[in-house]
Symmetry: C2
Subunit: 477 residues, 2 copies
């Protein structure tokens, strides 16, 4: 791929399009240790904007941030039987430190249920210590055999929420409340529609009673499990002996939850919205919402650049994220391509005639140009950003719905999972799920909450359906 050529078209090779787009948009690079990534400023700025909105919503729902150690004794993982089975194969182990072999090796955290459970066992004594509503921003490590930047990396950044409650009811409410926060982030900020629902037993988090996920469709029709929220029941409470004395003076195990949202979401933004020209950034999260490109020749530079500077300053002081591209060494056309590749929602073109006329050209990354007055721009742009957001969401929703198929026949199923999501009945048996995966590469994504109750026969084996409604299948990242 030469730097001056366009991207590989999505229709030709979506996976290659993705890798080219994120690198050419300067979001990411490969780290020297296998499977690790370097998040470059443009990619990180998107993650920071996601963090800011999530962190605000976590605090509004009563959570506090804390920090637990990166290193966890390996023995901790063995305390919860399903958890160790799920995570042991992915652990990175430190065996040597401070110039010596360690007596007890420890793991680099893949997730923090165990160490938080261990601490809670000391901290929680009484019902007055509950609920515990904690969140941690940090890095985790899960050894990946087939890494891909943002989507699957050996190390990734995320937040992991961990809460402990006196009752099952409260803990289940929390599990759903936090999926609600995530769904708000995806819908209201990332402009990505999705299906919320329970994962099947085979697909749930290792150690959970159940897992809820948000399944979003990428533009190749595949699903990206974009975040998860788990009701852990008393599994970790029993493994780590997290007990409290309740109001009735009885000693009880707490009920816990955990929920996580990672830099995977950056990949979701790219693959849910991008096109053959590059990224399309959802404007409420975009690192740069508007780029100002002055158009001038040698003899008009002094006329145009100061006007572009002053416009940029005015837009900034209106609270917008604006960048002025005043690089002399590149042509306007080069710049247009570059900012389209980076997915900046709006571009303002300002030439000498515009300056004279007190106008500019406003070009949308979703297509379309309009001539606008310079004076009213600071108030016009916020309205345009809102309509851009709505249009982007609508575009993704229409794409999703056009690529979601209700199917009752296994042959049709096999054909349709190559194009998008399939809603079908399933018996609920693990072995049958596994067969479908082997035969079609599709997995159960979730049992959508908004799917109406219905009954029918399993799409593959014909047994009665196990979920009381159709469930969602797709090939997934």
């Amino acid at each position: 791929m030469a730097k001056d050529k366009g991207l590989t078209p999505q229709a030709q090779d979506f996976s290659e399009w993705y890798l080219e787009a994120i690198q050419r948009a300067d979001m990411v690079d490969y780290g020297p240790v296998r499977g690790t990534m370097v998040i470059k400023p443009y990619g990180f700025a998107l993650w920071e904007n996601i963090q800011r909105e999530l962190d605000r919503m976590f605090k509004e729902t009563g959570h506090q941030n804390a920090y637990f150690p990166l290193f966890i004794p390996v023995s901790f993982f063995q305390k919860e039987a399903e958890h160790v089975e799920g995570f042991a194969p992915e652990l990175a182990i430190v065996t040597h430190a401070g110039g010596q072999d360690l007596e007890e090796p420890f793991a680099v955290r893949p997730t923090s249920e165990t160490v938080i459970g261990h601490m809670w066992a000391n901290w929680i004594k009484s019902y007055r210590d509950l609920p515990q509503l904690l969140n941690q921003w940090g890095n985790v490590v899960r050894w990946e055999l087939r890494p891909r930047p943002f989507l699957r990396t050996t190390e990734f950044l995320w937040q992991e929420g961990h809460t402990a409650h006196a009752t099952q009811e409260e803990a289940e409410e929390e599990t759903h409340r936090m999926m609600g926060v995530y769904a708000t982030l995806f819908r209201e900020f990332a402009a990505i529609p999705g299906w919320e629902g329970k994962k099947t037993e085979s697909e749930k988090f290792a150690g959970a009673v159940y897992t809820i996920s948000y399944e979003a469709m990428m533009r190749d029709g595949k699903s990206l499990q974009s975040c998860t929220s788990h009701y852990l029941g008393q599994n970790f409470a029993k493994a780590f002996e997290i007990k409290f004395q309740d109001k009735d003076l009885e000693a009880k195990h707490v009920h816990t939850t955990s929920w996580g949202f990672s830099t995977r979401s950056v990949g979701a933004v790219v693959m849910a919205h991008g096109d053959d020209k590059g990224l399309i950034m959802p404007p409420r999260l975009a690192p740069i919402q508007i780029v100002v490109v002055p158009i001038y020749k040698q003899d008009t530079r002094e006329q145009v650049v100061p006007a572009a500077e002053s416009l940029t300053a005015r837009l900034k002081s209106a609270g917008l994220r604006v960048h002025l591209d005043d690089r002399d060494q590149h042509s306007p056309g080069f710049k247009f391509n570059e900012w389209e590749l980076k997915g900046v929602p709006y571009r303002i073109e300002l030439g000498p005639r515009d300056v004279e006329a007190g106008t500019a050209v406003l070009a949308s990354r979703l297509g379309g140009k309009e001539t606008v007055g310079l004076d009213g721009l600071s108030s016009l742009i916020p309205a345009r950003i809102e309509s851009f957001h709505r249009a982007l969401y609508q575009r993704a929703l229409e794409f999703r719905d056009a690529h979601t198929f209700v199917v009752d026949d296994y042959q049709a199923f096999q054909a349709k999972v190559e194009e998008g999501f399939v809603k079908a009945f399933h018996c609920g048996e693990k072995e049958c799920e596994k067969q479908i995966k082997e035969e079609t590469k599709a997995t159960t994504r979730c049992v959508p909450f908004d799917e109406p109750e219905a009954s029918g026969k399993c799409i593959r084996c014909g047994k009665p359906n196990g979920y009381g409604r159709r469930i969602l299948f797709a090939r997934a990242y």
Copy 2:
């Protein structure tokens, strides 16, 4: 230490006072792996407030956040001779991952100069790619033989800034600029005075040309190196072959800097301001600036608590960080002690007579109570917070100056370093510095920038002074 007793007095055992204060104020706990800590919400909230101010200042000075991998090939450390000597003994090494022994083990980052240098070698081609002004918020690991929460822990949180420049002049400016940002954080937000100056050769960062530090006095007279900024010259540029084509078409090595500010600063806040009752939080960073304590009996609860709630809401909407302590199970006296221990700058006491009179009692953590009108509180408190900040800074400055001694005699030196900082002449020889450390436990802290030029003989060996001025000695954390 029983939970209902006071803290060990500072004068009796400062170190014990510190450990008790941070744990009883609910800032921190010990992690299960040796030398690691758990930062609890009250400690983390202080760190978040520090982060917010630093991050803002980094961006105002043109820096962008990015993220580099936690894992670094061990071979990278061997590329810079001084760097490997300094860090090899502290590395934690991953030898096993994904169920297999690794062919090439890697280190958990102790600092990221090497991996960033490696990436820059690919990214930087031309003078147009410079300067690189990057910052990373994250965790690092340095194996600690004598860990102490916040001050020295095997894992700690920090930010590390890394910049690359075309010229030495620019890079040196950057080194000083970022120390200026740190000094602003300490003086204007943490209310901690300090001395900025160059470290001696023995105390500089492993791989730096020189290191600047901010040395702050704790209330036992010891110094805490609170942050550092390094001019790295072309050392890492040469080790990692980071070259650019300059305007004159010549290929040149870049000049790099790095600068770091860690959760150590939380320990600095505790030890620079605390007293026998507990912490004293600098109000611009305090997680809670004001606690409202309603004072009531069973029959006045309905009168007092709603008034306290409404007051709390008004103060919150004035942008203040306020907490209402309406716990029924504790007496006002218990609450006063607890919030004093946690160092909350202001306490508002509100009883039934106050509610009737439209007043409250405002108590300062620095001493003194006043009766104030409820109506004017939202505008009064911001002014009080400013005067609290100034008073706290002044108190620390006076303490520091009262415990800083100008000394020209080695016997006096030995006596005075037990009480505080000492300004003395030194020959500048490493061996002599080492002897002083062995004989007095004091180390050279820095060559203060604001110390006037002067000449004299080395405090220990009598040779001519090597720095053209007195330098700062102290026992240090």
